[in-house]
């Protein structure tokens, strides 16, 4: 792992705090990827970072890949489609702007097909039943399409010929499949190189060459087995799909590789998002390790929804004892504190595990809200907390 741009140069290397503003203000950084397990507030973090960057002067677009329309909710929008839409209500005085979009994987796939094949070949592919299932209903396609869309957005130019987006903030799919985002080029590559694909396509292009006839015979035997299992109609749909796609796979793969290189490059920063719960911290730790082993630029860890206290000096146990001695409203008030403080104490222990496991990774803690964030003001206030550079509390020394 190397430090992400914007963090090494300006932040104090001894500090454990994640300096979010330094990252967002660094013009060299063009892509911020928020990753983490489901339900930790990844989408909200991505939206809050994008809004803050926009209001600090960057031309920003936020891309969400999540099938549930959560980003729309937290941005107060009712609908998002496959093209970036300006977000109303953003303060543009610093010269920035904000647009948001949600990945429509079917439409992205269709566009790729249309852009890379002749009109009648495109029609042939788009009408293929196997293609229709693959592009819309099967899980996993979204990771490939996310790569595709990210590549498109980063290359998009405006009327003046300059790059349209200064900063692209990406939110990854929830849970384990977030990692598939990184695997897309490899998977695609190994599929395209696989003998299986060649066997599938061989009968269609065998022609007269001798070695191909042999291969074709092997494939014929395999086809017999596959036919028994899949039924002839499905197999021929798959074969004609693969044959039709064959011409565009090369460019598709090339771009997936370019996008991967871009993610690994010095203009990208990864942010791992977590919540102060045992499971979420374990997943976050897994993501940090994964980014490390892929040598991806990790900027920092965000721990969301951390219980904050307004009377931290009173330990939970003391409040509990006082509650048993209290009467009237004071009893309930003390119980509220005891429960919250108890939670706070256990969250701190959980977060400290993360800090112990990954001491060089800077972190920032975002306090929980008493109510959910559903509008731009809410996102703005999360942005302020993100920039407040409050790291995970230092773990106590091991006795």
């Amino acid at each position: 792992m190397r430090p992400a741009p914007g963090t090494g140069a300006r932040a104090d290397p001894r500090s454990a705090a994640f300096d979010v503003d330094a990252l967002l203000d660094d013009e060299r950084v063009r892509i911020v990827v928020c990753t983490g397990s489901g339900g930790v507030g990844k989408t909200t973090t991505a939206a809050a970072l994008a809004l803050r960057a926009a209001e600090r002067g960057r031309r920003t677009v936020v891309l969400t890949i999540d099938p549930a329309r959560r980003l729309a909710q937290s941005m107060g929008l009712t609908q998002l489609d496959n093209t970036p839409r300006p977000v109303p209500g953003v303060d543009t005085r610093a010269g920035g702007s904000l647009a948001a979009m949600m990945l429509d994987m079917k439409r992205t796939f269709d566009e790729v097909v249309e852009a890379h094949s002749s009109p009648d070949k495109a029609r042939q592919i788009l009408d293929n039943p196997f293609y229709q299932a693959l592009s819309s209903s099967f899980a996993g396609t979204q990771e490939y399409m996310a790569m595709e869309k990210l590549g498109q957005l980063s290359a998009e130019v405006d009327e003046t010929g300059g790059l349209r987006w200064g900063l692209i903030v990406v939110d990854t799919p929830p849970s384990r499949s977030a990692l598939d985002f990184l695997d897309a080029p490899d998977r695609l590559g190994s599929f395209l190189d696989s003998r299986f694909l060649r066997l599938l396509t061989a009968p269609a292009k065998a022609g007269g060459r001798a070695y191909l006839r042999v291969l074709s015979a092997v494939a014929g035997g395999l086809n017999g087995i596959m036919n028994r299992i899949l039924g002839q109609s499905l197999l021929s749909d798959v074969q004609s799909f693969v044959a039709a796609l064959d011409t565009m796979f090369g460019s598709f793969r090339q771009r997936a590789e370019q996008t991967y290189a871009m993610l690994a490059g010095d203009r990208t920063a990864f942010v791992v998002v977590a919540a102060p719960e045992a499971d979420a911290v374990r997943e976050a730790s897994f993501f940090v390790d994964r980014l490390r082993s892929d040598r991806m630029p990790l900027a920092g860890i965000v721990v969301n929804r951390v219980t904050s206290m307004r009377a931290e000096e009173l330990p939970a146990a003391d409040a509990g004892r006082a509650a048993s001695a209290a009467t009237g409203s004071a009893r309930g008030v003390l119980l509220v504190h005891a429960r919250r403080m108890h939670r706070r104490e256990s969250e701190v222990r959980i977060m400290q595990r993360l800090r112990r496991l990954h001491p060089p990774v800077p972190s920032v803690v975002v306090p929980a809200r008493p109510v959910d964030v559903t509008d731009l003001d809410g996102l703005r206030s999360i942005g302020e907390d993100l920039a407040a550079a409050r790291p995970i509390p230092e773990p106590p020394p091991v006795p």
């Binding site: 693959l134 998977r187 307004r310 006082a322 001695a325 509220v336």
Partner: protein, 371 residues
């Protein structure tokens, strides 16, 4: 009032009918388990990420096993989440005893797509060697990773197979190997697609064994033998996703079981105090004086920062009241779904990790207190 105090201690079973058990003890009929008559053999548990789906699936399995049933608890997301909540070593691709519960047993199975494919080829086509040849050619990788939809086909197929398995190891009519199967399913965003994948497949493979297998699986998933439970927290986004998922699943012809409201924290202030705290009209002088007295009585010194401590405590009471108010709103939205609802309490210290004792506590709630 007794009822008031119970709300703080007992789990809140909204929608459940409290009944008087013989001997005068209070018992709750649980709507989720009521929905789970023995005819239901597959319980699919879904929910937004972070709502505690795996925990609820595990507690449901324990509750179902109590009367002496053999229950298979399966996971399909490759996270080894079951091993984690039960504090068990990573599960192999074989049913493994996780816990005894009452007179019954819960076995765990982490379904792996690749192993499921090879097994499928072996069982249905006796393709032992050819199956390995397919693996060398990259066909197995193709089926399980490149074409991730087929992965869902294999995973649902394995669950279907577990339902058909007989105690003597064969398949079909006879004494089933498992009285019930609980599936810790994909999150709400993916559950509809996951459960419906065989419908898509049946459309793709218009004939042949895959077509008929896909149709049989869909037949079971849409029959009264299958119900889907949705886990949520009383927060905006999980509730929104619950509503979306319920609509989706309904449209797909899948039967819904219950909505499980997880990590419920009972209000700690009386209704009057909640209203006052919300309006900021809690009497600061009186309450403040009471707080100081209580702290002193308990032997907790109130230092120089006394007044600011009291202010902080009252602010927290106000935030507690706004949260309770927001939760009431979320609960109303859930109630509009018209499904049975069951509350599971937030257990102290559970943020630091689940353990078997905590799972049994939750299973007690689901089983209506019987053990």
């Amino acid at each position: 009032m007794d009822d008031e105090r119970d709300r703080g201690v007992l789990p809140l079973l909204h929608g459940a009918q409290p009944t008087r058990a013989p001997g005068g003890g209070r018992r709750y009929r649980d709507p989720v388990l009521d929905a789970l008559d023995p005819a239901v053999r597959l319980h699919v548990v879904t929910g937004k990420g972070g709502t505690g789906k795996t925990t609820v699936a595990a507690a449901t399995a324990l509750a179902l096993a109590r009367p002496g049933r053999r229950v298979l608890l399966t996971e399909v997301e490759g996270r080894q989440g079951l091993a984690q909540v039960f504090g068990h070593d990573p599960l192999p691709y074989l049913p493994t005893l996780l816990a005894r519960s009452g007179a019954g047993q819960v076995h765990g199975l982490a379904v792996d797509a690749k192993a499921a494919l090879l097994e499928y080829l072996e069982v249905f086509y006796r393709l032992g060697r050819a199956g390995r040849a397919l693996e060398r050619l990259g066909a197995v990788d193709f089926a399980t990773t490149i074409a991730p939809g087929l992965r869902d086909v294999l995973l649902t197929g394995k669950v279907y197979d577990a339902l058909r398995q007989r105690a003597d190891g064969r398949r079909g009519e006879g004494v089933p190997a498992w009285d019930a199967v609980v599936l810790d399913g994909p999150p709400t965003g993916r559950i509809g697609r996951f459960l419906n994948v065989n419908e898509d497949l049946a459309g793709l493979a218009r004939m042949g064994p895959v077509h008929s297998q896909a149709q049989s699986i869909m037949g079971v998933l849409t029959s009264p033998a299958t119900v889907v439970h949705v886990v949520t927290l009383l927060e905006d986004m999980p509730v929104q996703e619950t509503c979306d998922a319920v609509a989706d699943l309904h449209d797909l012809g899948l039967r819904l079981g219950g909505v499980v409201v997880n990590q419920v924290r009972p209000p700690l202030l009386s209704p009057e105090d909640l209203r006052a705290a919300l309006a900021g009209t809690l009497d600061r002088e009186t309450v403040g004086a009471d707080l100081v007295t209580a702290l002193r009585t308990a032997g907790v010194g109130v230092p120089e920062g006394g007044p600011s401590l009291v202010e902080g405590l009252l602010d927290q009471a106000g935030e507690h009241a706004s949260r309770v108010q927001a939760e009431d709103g979320h609960r109303k939205r859930l109630a509009e779904l018209g499904l049975p609802m069951v509350d599971l309490p937030q257990l102290p210290g559970v943020a630091e990790g689940m353990d078997l004792a905590a799972l049994h506590e939750l299973a007690d709630v689901l089983a209506g207190g019987s053990r």
